[in-house]
């Protein structure tokens, strides 16, 4: 993949800077390719979905996850230590009276280890500007119509913590095992712009 940067002007500029840094010993051979491969092999929303499914079937895990997510993640073989530094994770649980939704108004902070790369809409000024001010209408645009009595809690990832939403377990899923439950969970559900 890395030999084909494309032919746009910016791809030529990127290629030029990369070569310059290699020639000065600031990048080693293959370092960029390795990083790209590692990123591709890293986080996906399936990780977050696994966490959610476990929390749905195991109330003890749910309690530990909400109390200290970093300490609970290894129980499902995950951690927040894969990035530049270990990040604090806080999981916020939707309930019958409260719905959580995540944003980073200043930047685009996001729990990549659990959700994979963030979607463009999450990084857009459109989403970041509006969801803190009028989350109910933003959620309605995403198809999430909440009862008027449901409180909405917005979390702005402005500092060191990353957040993940624990959606409510849908009705009629009593027969599903953990894998079946995990398959129900979407990236938007983990951000709070979908119910699950």
């Amino acid at each position: 993949m890395s030999d084909d940067h494309g032919s746009s002007p910016i791809s030529a500029r990127v290629r030029h800077v990369e070569a310059l840094l290699e020639s000065r010993g600031l990048l080693s051979d293959g370092e960029i390719d390795t990083r790209i491969d590692e990123f591709a092999a890293g986080g996906t929303p399936a990780n977050g979905a696994r966490v959610v499914a476990r929390a749905w079937v195991d109330p003890g895990f749910r309690d530990r996850l909400l109390a200290d997510a970093n300490a609970a993640l290894p129980e499902v073989g995950l951690s927040m230590a894969g990035g530049l530094q270990e990040q604090r994770l806080k999981v916020v649980a939707n309930g019958p009276d409260e719905h959580h939704v995540l944003v980073c108004t200043l930047c685009s902070c996001y729990p990549i280890a659990l959700l994979g790369p963030s979607p463009s809409w999450y990084k857009s000024e459109a989403y970041r500007s509006r969801v803190v001010r009028d989350p109910r209408s933003v959620l309605a645009e995403f198809g999430v119509a909440l009862p008027a009595a449901t409180r909405i809690a917005v979390w702005d990832a402005s500092a060191e913590s990353r957040y993940m939403v624990l959606p409510r377990r849908p009705e009629g899923t009593a027969d599903l095992d953990e894998d079946g439950l995990a398959a129900l969970v979407t990236r938007k559900g983990l951000i709070g712009t979908a119910l699950v």
Binding site: R88, K90, T105, L106, V132, R133, D134, P135, R136, R151, I152, A153, V154, W155, D156, A157, S158, A159, E160, S161
Partner: protein, 89 residues
């Protein structure tokens, strides 16, 4: 420095810094409630200026939309460093 604790009412500073800051404009000069202490980190505002500084407490501070925007029935929880908050007299 006396750290704040969950339940404390705090007011963010009204400062309008020249450089990088993690205190969003919409949350300046606003009253909120500390809901959690979230560890201790060097202030990003200083790190962005290349300064080596000591860690300080970081808090999850919850604001009502009404206090931030004069409208709305939701809450917004912002993660702020100790230096983003006014020191009680």
């Amino acid at each position: 420095m006396t750290a704040f604790a969950p339940g404390d009412r705090v007011r963010t500073r009204t400062v309008d810094p020249v450089g990088h800051t993690r205190l969003p404009r919409y949350a300046r000069g606003a009253w909120g409630t500390v809901v959690q202490v979230a560890g201790s980190h060097p202030l990003a505002d200083d790190r962005a200026r290349g300064l080596e500084v000591q860690p300080q407490p970081v808090y999850h501070v919850r604001f009502t939309a009404a206090d931030l925007f004069g409208t709305g029935d939701h809450t917004v929880t912002v993660e702020l460093w100790h230096d983003h908050l006014e020191v009680p007299a």
